[in-house]
Symmetry: C2
């Protein structure tokens, strides 16, 4: 296939709200019961003022001068360089709780001086050439879903900073149905990729919580991991090749399904968070739309027993497509949210398994999994709770927005470690979060789940909810610092799939060593000698 | 576990012969029938002179001056710096056919000026420090099994070159049975690693053809792939962390089973072939020694049908531990070697599947595989041919030695590509080898198999046998050049698991682009600013 196919709906239609996750049509509000519970259990003041209207927010004036504006328009075409406040505000940052709290500041807020929307690889190259020559900082922008400050308009010593938004580049440009390979432009969002591939009977199968808005290029440069990672792998596993526009020219990394031709160059760009170039095209592994799906939920008496059961599956090789386990607190809260309180729903820890594929494969694999989980302490809860999880699986960030609006502080963070260290790390992080927020007078609820598993270990994903203090930015920053210190001390990675951005940068030297950061800096200096690309992120 | 366990047999006991693969006790000779066949079918002159005795080989005198010798001895201890000709000759290169032909030159041959055998990470660091300060080139040396010129004693502008042999560093230093993780010193050979892990009930499961001699560190820096790669992954998949001694200090890469904390630094050292440092310690994924094994052989009517069947298995997710398919020529020759000629053994293409694991897992997975292969054109040949393959699976290089001694030219080469391109690439390489050797008056036999599979593609491994021309070095160099040009033109990778070394270096700019090689050069300059590490390899 050589023709280029574009999605039915343009990306602009799913551009997120300036002050919340997602689009307004999916906005959630808390029920009265939940609000009462927040007030009673956590001391949340649910009578907070309504959020700021967009018209009340002032931005610092754009510093893009007319000459630059015209030059950039000559590259990307008129209409594709926006320096109006509405566009700038929508590119002022990502969607962490800190970002959303910052957006509530009447201002003046900082924002990129303009949003540039190239339509092709060559236009991206030309924009980078121009910005390097003219000393303009560039923040690459995909779906805008960063929760680690990866999109902050840091000027890094430059006078002007522009966001380069890839939303026009969302086509499927190649499909190899025999090999199961597709080439997508980097700006295609999760739903656009699934739509384009689905028309040919294929699926990418990458479903992170940011799925509805995040882009293929963003998945690559942040080493994203989706909810079906047990079956289809992390996004970095799926990438067969990358095309990257850099200030030094074009890199094409990845030539075969596997190679021993030196270090794997794809891995320099996977996780590079826009510091080494802008990924414009991603060749990805795809699979036929599953003919069959078997969903099942399980209850385990406690987290340790459930984690051991998951470990048994993965180490045996009886791996489902989706595999997750909520701890006792998360299980209880989820049941409460679905108003199962007082019902006969089991307590303990809820696990979900989903197996996808051909009918025969699903039958064989599900039978193996069911037998193993039954002998490792699991109680079969049937299909329904797994369907319920799947139905709401992209909605948690909308719930966070509702919690923030209701005066609660809510945020997530994540890590990964070996199976033998998992319990210790979970306790260390829970304790650090609890101690920090308790000391600040806002004792939290800390929930945790495993959602990504490997033969040697797993991820841990924490959700924290407490009352907002007077200065919630300082409040959360302190808690996050305590949690990350605890992660590093207890031997976890500072991030399993959220990436580094600005927020995890202070821990990078501990994560990879000063010599390690020096090597990445050497690559940076070689490929972006002026240092225009995404200043202030990733590298200390 | 914190104690350090060392293998029963020291590495020196399995050091390879100076002029052949492996140790003398495994030497093979060709039967009269095979010799007659070589003469008749390929025009091989089987009356060649016997090989050179070691005493007839002269080496260039060692250039290591006494001061350096004493200084290095102070670091690694007396007795661990050898500059005698016997030691130097055994480190003069790897074991490619070109290497073995070069060893037959009465000389004077070039060789490292000394062999230095450090006993710890700190000693390796100190040796590198010293060599960087004194401008001495360093060739890191593991098992000595390179078949791509990765061990050539290239001086690269330096007066002196030493081989740093890791054979003293072969201990198991940590074992985490819950997570399935072990830490091995880099000099442990395949059998040593299996012995050390086996004592605790575990296995690494990495079985390349070089298994008996190659080391864990060598597996890492060449991105080795073993015969059980379908089940246990390539070696680069198995590596959880690496400790690397470099002229700039120690790098420890890898902190968790998976991470999004920037680019994966392990991947800069995996495949780095000793140019960025010397790997001293490797943390690897291990698994319990399989409780059950199911072996089965299959016949397919032709290579295309067989390849499609393998693809179906891998894309369905019904993956065995070992999965291989010989083409028609290789199948016929293997049958001939096992003297099945004239028997009722089926023609076509032989495939082997092996499934390992718990009894239940093996039963479930083997049933799924058997059903799929039966419906994709396979005829079940039972267990015996799979056992025969497994029994001789490390012996092919000994056969190559026997062929060389009998006046034949024999060598292997390999590549990988997508499933949709596999047939085209196989034809292109076969045609290029045939044309080149036919033009030189020595029409070859070209055999091929698939031994490493991925959802999106597979490797191709070629074996070439023909008569030796008067100058076999020039003869094979021309054929190899033609084959590699064909690989690049037909979209394969220049190497799937043999690595780059000196032999594939001329194609690296085409493989990863000039900007790609520039990035690796930037890393090299940052970590080894004097350029002492393995000059003349990998990077153009």
């Amino acid at each position: 296939m050589t023709a280029s196919f574009t999605p039915r709906h343009p990306s602009a239609a799913t551009e997120m709200e300036w002050d919340a996750w997602g689009t307004a049509d999916r906005r959630k509000e808390l029920g009265e019961g939940v609000r009462a519970l927040l007030q009673q259990a956590l001391g949340v003041d649910t009578r907070r003022a309504p959020s700021l209207p967009e018209t009340a927010v002032r931005l610092l004036p754009s510093r893009l001068d007319t000459r630059h504006r015209h030059s950039l328009e000559r590259i990307v075409g008129p209409g594709h360089v926006a320096d109006d406040d509405a566009a700038r505000l929508r590119h002022a940052g990502g969607k962490s709780t800190l970002d959303l709290l910052r957006r509530q500041d009447p201002g003046p807020q900082d924002a990129p001086d303009a949003v540039v929307r190239p339509g092709s690889h060559d236009e991206v190259l030309a924009v980078l050439d121009y910005c390097a020559a003219e000393a303009i900082a560039v923040v690459p922008f995909g779906g805008g879903t960063s929760v680690v400050g990866g999109l902050d308009p840091v000027r890094g010593g430059f006078d002007t900073v522009v966001a380069v938004d890839l939303q026009r580049m969302n086509a499927l440009t190649d499909l190899d149905p025999v090999s199961g390979l597709a080439t997508l432009q980097a700006g295609a969002t999760g739903p656009q990729a699934e739509e384009l591939l689905g028309a040919h009977g294929f699926s990418l199968g990458h479903f992170p919580q940011s799925f509805r808005h995040a882009t293929v290029g963003g998945f690559a440069v942040t080493r994203s991991s989706g909810q079906a990672s047990a079956g289809y792998g992390r996004f970095d596993d799926m990438v067969e090749h990358l095309v990257v526009a850099t200030p030094s020219g074009t890199v094409r990394a990845g030539r075969a399904p596997a190679s021993a031709a030196g270090p794997d160059l794809r891995q320099l760009f996977l996780g590079s968070e826009g510091l080494f170039g802008i990924v414009t095209e991603v060749g990805v592994r795809i699979h036929p739309i599953p003919a069959a799906v078997a969903r099942r939920a399980w209850s385990f008496p406690d987290f340790a027993t459930g984690a051991d059961a998951l470990r048994t599956l993965v180490q045996t090789g009886a791996v489902p497509t989706v595999l997750r386990l909520s701890d006792e607190s998360e299980t209880a809260v989820n049941l409460a949210m679905h108003e199962h309180i007082g019902s006969t729903a089991p307590t303990g820890c809820l696990a979900v398994t989903t197996v996808e594929g051909t009918a025969d494969h699903v039958r064989a694999r599900a039978a193996e999994i069911d037998a193993l989980l039954a002998t490792t302490g699991g109680t079969d809860l049937g299909e329904e709770p797994a369907r319920t999880w799947e139905h709401g699986r992209f909605d948690a960030p909308h719930l966070r927005d509702a919690l923030l609006r209701a005066g609660a502080l809510a945020e997530t963070l994540e890590t990964a470690t070996t199976w033998s260290n998992l319990g210790r790390l979970r306790t260390a992080v829970t304790d650090a979060l609890t101690a920090s927020l308790q000391d600040q007078g806002t004792p939290p609820l800390v929930l945790c789940h495993i959602s990504h598993t490997y033969p040697t270990g797993a991820s841990l994903y924490f959700t924290v909810v407490c009352a907002q203090a007077d200065d919630p930015l300082t409040q959360w920053s302190a808690a996050k610092r305590a949690a990350t210190d605890a992660i590093v001390t207890a031997g976890g990675t500072v991030t399993h799939h959220h990436a580094v951005g600005r927020d995890h940068r202070p821990w990078m030297a501990e994560e990879i060593g000063t010599l390690g950061t020096g090597l990445l800096r050497a690559v940076k200096d070689a490929i972006d000698p002026r240092g225009i690309l995404n200043p202030g992120k990733l590298l200390p």
